[in-house]
Each structure stands twice: as structure tokens, then as C-alpha cells.
């Protein structure tokens, strides 16, 4: 337990120490208290801004910590969404139908990522091939599901629905509790918190260090006795299951999913959230995902077609002028000041003066 707390407080993300974690607890409390002042409509909206965070955290782990970029995480988002729709829809009359749907969805995302990733990582391809082929996978899935209009495209009682997508997807039910409105909001907040804490422990643990070692120098890491292909495949599967978690939450939120959830524009969004936040900081990525989802939701709900131009320009600007990310950059700046202030207060020991 102590070891877990130490790892949670480890150095491979922004923010450490008592002050930071007190702030995080306050933030969590604020989210938990939010439904008491907000309508169920606004709580559901906030849940929508939050529900993509697991997918973004997965991409941060993969790209920022592991140095492997994927442009097709939405493929696994969609696979999980559609699988849940099919399984939970068909098992609607059973008490455990929706739980089975969740399980099937996460399994489908994980297994498809494992199969696809096997070819990518065990072939040891150049770095640019992984994002390209994952993107092609997402686009082809979207194209395929677009072709599934009509009654002949159905699994059990559920129609895939072509470009109009799958509708009437049942909400998760555990016992007598249906996760809608406020309950859905709490579910999203809990899952986001769990994902963040678990991933922060992971990146500071031994496996996380190996991951960063691979990012720094693949050959060196292999010659320390690690099977780089397996490590990369493992983290790809984890990231894809996290994308599946977001896909699951998305179909809970809207009770529908369309092939455009895997289209080219949707595929770009996770990359933008992660790049703008700062890919090697889980916290910065989570914050950026929340803010940018809010931004695009507000922009596009006004019927404004420039949303994509704006986020595209934001992405180009960040990559050019702040490649470490805006939020992570600001956070590090703040942290640096704080560290300097502390160093001045405590004279440095002989150890840091070096030889």
C-alpha cells in the first residue's frame, strides 16, 4: 500500500507532494458535488467532456511515455461501442445483459488491438508505419460500417444501420441502478479518476520505466534483456482497451453510435488533445481533453463550421511552438519556480555539487 502511494507520487507526471494531492482531492470533491448545483442536462454535458479522457490517457501512455504513435485509437473506441450495442442490445431481457456487453466490448477492443498490433510490432516497422496503418484501420472500419445499411446487416435483433448508425443502445444497469443522468455522471467521474490513478502508478513503476527506456533507445533496452516487441504490444493493447472504455461511455451517453465516430476527423481529435495538453504528462492530457471537448462542443453546437480549422491550427501551432504541450509547459514552468524557491530555501547538499 505504501509502495503504491509512493509510486502514485512518483516523478513521471506533473505535480507531487501534499499540496498537489490536496488540490486533487478538492477537485474530485468539486466534481462529486457538482450535481447538487447543476441540472441533469448540464451534468450530462460535463460527463460528455470527461468521457474521452480514458482514450486520451491511453494515447498519452502510448505516445508520450512509450514513443509509439497511433492515429487510429478511435477504431477501438468504435469497436467497443458497436460490440456493446450488439451484445447488450441482444441480451436486453437478461439481468446481466449490459454487464456482458461491457465485458464483450472491452474484450473485443483488447483482442482486436492485440491481433493488429502483433503485425505492427513483431514486424519491427519504422515509427511512422504504426500511426499510418492504425489510421487506415479506423477509416476502413468506418467505410465498412457505412456499407451496413439495410435489414440484411444485423446481428441477432440489432441492425448495424449503415451511415445512420446503431440506435437505441441500452444504458448500463447494475442491479436496480440504471446509469443515466446523475448516476452516469458519477460513473464517468469515477472511471476517469480510477484511470488516472492507475496509469500514474503504472508509469512510475518498473514497467513504466521500461516503457520510457524504449522511447529513449530501443536497442539499448532490448540489450538489457527486454522483449521490446512484447512491451510495445502490451502498452498498445492497454491504450486500446482505454479507448474502448471511452467508446463504452460514449454509447451510454448518447445511446447511439455512427461510423463517423471512427472517421478521419474523429481520429484526429485524440491526437490533438494529447499534443495540446503535453503528451508525456497524464494530468496535462486529462485537463486538455476536458477543455478541448468543451471548446469543440460549444463551437460546433453553434453551427460553426470553423471548429476543425481552429483545432487544426491549434495543433500546428502547438507542434511548432510548444511541442511539449501547452498545459504541460505551463505546469513545468510553475513547478520550476516552485523548485527554485525551495532550493534557495534549503542549501544544496554536497551530493548535488558533483565531482
Amino acid at each position: 500500500m505504501m509502495r503504491m502511494l509512493q509510486l502514485l507520487n512518483g516523478p513521471h507526471d506533473l505535480g507531487r507532494g501534499r499540496g498537489f494531492w490536496s488540490g486533487m482531492v478538492l477537485l474530485a470533491a468539486a466534481f462529486l458535488a457538482y450535481p447538487t448545483i447543476a441540472s441533469s442536462f448540464s451534468a450530462t454535458n460535463v460527463a460528455y467532456y470527461l468521457l474521452n479522457i480514458p482514450m486520451a490517457l491511453g494515447l498519452s501512455l502510448l505516445w508520450g511515455y512509450g514513443g509509439v504513435l497511433s492515429f487510429g485509437q478511435v477504431a477501438f473506441y468504435g469497436i467497443a461501442g458497436y460490440t456493446y450495442g450488439i451484445v447488450a442490445g441482444n441480451l436486453q431481457d437478461f439481468a446481466w445483459g449490459t454487464e456482458a456487453g461491457v465485458l464483450a466490448a472491452l474484450l473485443a477492443a483488447g483482442l482486436s488491438a492485440a491481433a493488429f498490433g502483433y503485425f505492427l510490432f513483431y514486424g519491427r516497422v519504422a515509427a511512422w508505419i504504426v500511426p499510418i496503418l492504425t489510421l487506415v484501420l479506423a477509416l476502413l472500419l468506418a467505410t465498412f460500417l457505412g456499407l451496413t445499411a439495410g435489414y440484411q446487416w444485423r446481428v441477432g435483433d440489432i441492425q448495424l444501420g449503415g451511415y445512420n448508425g446503431m440506435t437505441g443502445i441500452p444504458a448500463l444497469q447494475i442491479g436496480g441502478l440504471t446509469f443515466q443522468d446523475y448516476a452516469f455522471f458519477y460513473l464517468v467521474v469515477a472511471i476517469v479518476a480510477i484511470c488516472y490513478v492507475a496509469l500514474r502508478i503504472w508509469v512510475n513503476a518498473h514497467r513504466g520505466q521500461v516503457l520510457m527506456a524504449i522511447r529513449e533507445d530501443v536497442l539499448r533496452t532490448e540489450l538489457l534483456g527486454y522483449d521490446v516487441r512484447l512491451e510495445q504490444l502490451r502498452v498498445f493493447v492497454i491504450a486500446s482497451v482505454l479507448a474502448g472504455v471511452s467508446g463504452l461511455l460514449y454509447v451510454q451517453w448518447g445511446n447511439y453510435i455512427t461510423p463517423s465516430a471512427m472517421g478521419l476527423q474523429q481520429a484526429a481529435l485524440p491526437v490533438i488533445w494529447v499534443a495540446v495538453g503535453g503528451r508525456d504528462s497524464l494530468l496535462a492530457v486529462a485537463i486538455a481533453t476536458f477543455l478541448l471537448n468543451q471548446l469543440t462542443y460549444i463551437l460546433s453546437s453553434g453551427g460553426n463550421q470553423s471548429a476543425l480549422v481552429i483545432v487544426g491550427a491549434l495543433l500546428v501551432a502547438v507542434m511548432m511552438f510548444a511541442p511539449e504541450g501547452i498545459i504541460a509547459g505551463l505546469g513545468r514552468l510553475h513547478w520550476l519556480h516552485w523548485l527554485r524557491a525551495r532550493r534557495r530555501a534549503v542549501p544544496s547538499g554536497p551530493a548535488s555539487s558533483g565531482k
Binding site: 519504422a126 511512422w128 508505419i129 487506415v136 490533438i272 491550427a313 495543433l315 511548432m320 511541442p323
Partner: protein, 310 residues
């Protein structure tokens, strides 16, 4: 998503002769290979020379198609419009290289992400500026009949143009001062620099050439497709798969080998199951190829040579 779907092969029942049958099969392979090659050529030139993947490639093709559509509807003959598209898109590429791309040499993933941002801006920007559709370009030339089959003259011309482009590119790289400088830069930029080659200029022109080729291909394929802001998306899967399978070891040989090989796979699948499954077969082939030849089929030559020497 490929040539064969737009130029349906009219096949009548009965009375088949061997020669036209063979010609028809060759024509199918040829159009698919030409489509793949034209989609990928600009991309593979930039990848091979600069180790940069241009995700805005499809949007460069869209720009070429837009320029051609503008020109044709202002009375400029189509061949001239295509050449205009090459230079206009090339110039745009050069400006973009100076402003943005040159910051990303040696950061291939950064370049990938940045060019994706550029592609979003271009596609959505085209929608905002010019609306959802551009006036289409009529397909030049008619069809010729050979026995029971008919072939589109335009696609026959495109097959010819693909061959001419490959030969021209080979000549540029083998026989011009720019080609020599470019090959030197590709092999070892720092030594090239020390020999007085302005590598920055080589990169700039290479990116311009790649962008121009994308624009040229976009203009050439424009009559066979609808000209719209998001038309670039349809080229993403075939172009990138061709590049992945071709690899960056030998630019031109890779592109030619990969497009020929993939058309051999795609054509029968498309004809029997439909174009979507043809494209799906391309992805499956790409996955299988990288498992065996991670550096693409252009690395095959380099692998075989020592074995031959033995």
C-alpha cells in the same frame, strides 16, 4: 476507391476471344496500378528523400483538382490545367516547407502530426471558402471497343502518363545536377553539406516536387471523381498502403513495385467482392508484408544483391 469502380468494364455474354480477354485483364490491372501509383507518387518522393510522411497529401491532391477545375471552367484546355495544377500545388508546397515543415527534420512523428493539422485546415478551409462541391471536369476521350470489351481512352492515357512520370523521375534523379545533389543529401546530409550542397534548398525543392506531383495526380484523377473538400480522404488508404508496402529504401522502384504488386491483389478481390473488399485486401497485404519485410518490398533488392554476389 479505385479506378475500376468508375470505369465499368462492359462485358457482354458469350463470344469471348482470348486476346481481348487478356487485354481486358491487363487493362484492369493497369488502371488499378496506375491509380495506386498516381495516389502515392508525391508521398513516396517526400518520404524517400526527407523521411517525412505528409499526411496532408490527400489535401494536396484536392488542391490540384480544385486548380484544374477552376482552370478548365475558365476555358483553359485540360492538359494545360493539369500542368498548372502541378506548379500551383508545388509552389504551395514550397511555401509550406519554408514556413512549417523545415522545423521538423529529424522529428518524423512531429511532422506526421503537424501535417495532419494542416490537412484538417485545408479540407475544412476549402469547404468554408468554396462550398461543398466544385464543378466537375468531364472525362476527356471516349471509349474504344475491342471485341466484346470497351476501354476508356482516358484511363489508357493515365496508364501511359504513370509510365512517363516514372521514367521522368528516374531521369531527374539520375541525370540532373538536382538529382545528384538530392541523392547525396539523402545518403548523408552532413557530408553533402560539407561538400557545398545546400541541403535546405534540396529539401525545399523535394517537398515542392512531392507536393506538385500530388497536385498533378489530383488533377489527373479529378475527371474520374467528384471534386469536393474531403475528396482527399479517399486517397488516404490506397496511397499510404502503397507507401508502406513500397518502403523508403528505393523511392521509385518501391513505388512501381508496390503499386504493381498491390494491383495484382486488389484487382481480383475488387472484381469478385467489390471495391471495399479490394481496399481491405490492401490493408491485409500491408500487414502481411511488414511482418516479413518491415522495410517494404524496395528492401528486397538490397537483400537479394549479396545473395547473388555469393
Amino acid at each position: 476507391m479505385s479506378g475500376s469502380e468508375r470505369i465499368p468494364l462492359s462485358r457482354r455474354e458469350g463470344g469471348s476471344k482470348v486476346l481481348p480477354e487478356l487485354a481486358s485483364i491487363l487493362y484492369q490491372f493497369g488502371t488499378n496500378a496506375a491509380f495506386l501509383l498516381l495516389s502515392a507518387l508525391g508521398l513516396i518522393v517526400i518520404l524517400g528523400m526527407m523521411n517525412i510522411i505528409n499526411l496532408a497529401h490527400g489535401e494536396f491532391m484536392m488542391l490540384g483538382a480544385y486548380v484544374a477545375s477552376f482552370a478548365v471552367h475558365r476555358g483553359i484546355p485540360f492538359p494545360l490545367a493539369v500542368i498548372l495544377a502541378f506548379f500551383a500545388t508545388g509552389a504551395f508546397g514550397i511555401v509550406l516547407e519554408r514556413l512549417v515543415i523545415r522545423r521538423f527534420y529529424g522529428r518524423e512523428l512531429g511532422a506526421l502530426v503537424t501535417t495532419w493539422g494542416i490537412s484538417l485546415i485545408l479540407a475544412q478551409g476549402a469547404l468554408l471558402l468554396f462550398g461543398p462541391y466544385m464543378p466537375p471536369i468531364p472525362i476527356p476521350g471516349g471509349a474504344v471497343s475491342e471485341g466484346v470489351f470497351s476501354f476508356s481512352v482516358y484511363w489508357l492515357i493515365l496508364i501511359g502518363i504513370s509510365i512517363v512520370l516514372v521514367v521522368a523521375l528516374t531521369l531527374v534523379y539520375r541525370a540532373t545536377p538536382f538529382g545528384l545533389q538530392a541523392r547525396a543529401t539523402m545518403q548523408n546530409p552532413s557530408i553533402a553539406r560539407s561538400l557545398g550542397i545546400r541541403t535546405g534548398r534540396v529539401y525545399m525543392l523535394t517537398f515542392g516536387l512531392g507536393a506538385g506531383l500530388a497536385g498533378l495526380s489530383g488533377a489527373l484523377l479529378a475527371p474520374a471523381t467528384s471534386i469536393a473538400p474531403f475528396m482527399g480522404q479517399q486517397f488516404v488508404a490506397p496511397a499510404f498502403i502503397t507507401v508502406v508496402v513500397g518502403g523508403g529504401a528505393n523511392v521509385i522502384a518501391g513505388a512501381v513495385g508496390s503499386s504493381t504488386f498491390l494491383s495484382l491483389i486488389e484487382t481480383p478481390v475488387s472484381l469478385t467482392l467489390g471495391t471495399f473488399y479490394g481496399t481491405m485486401a490492401l490493408l491485409v497485404m500491408a500487414l502481411l508484408i511488414i511482418r516479413v519485410l518491415p522495410a517494404g518490398i524496395s528492401s528486397l533488392g538490397a537483400r537479394l544483391r549479396p545473395a547473388v554476389a555469393r
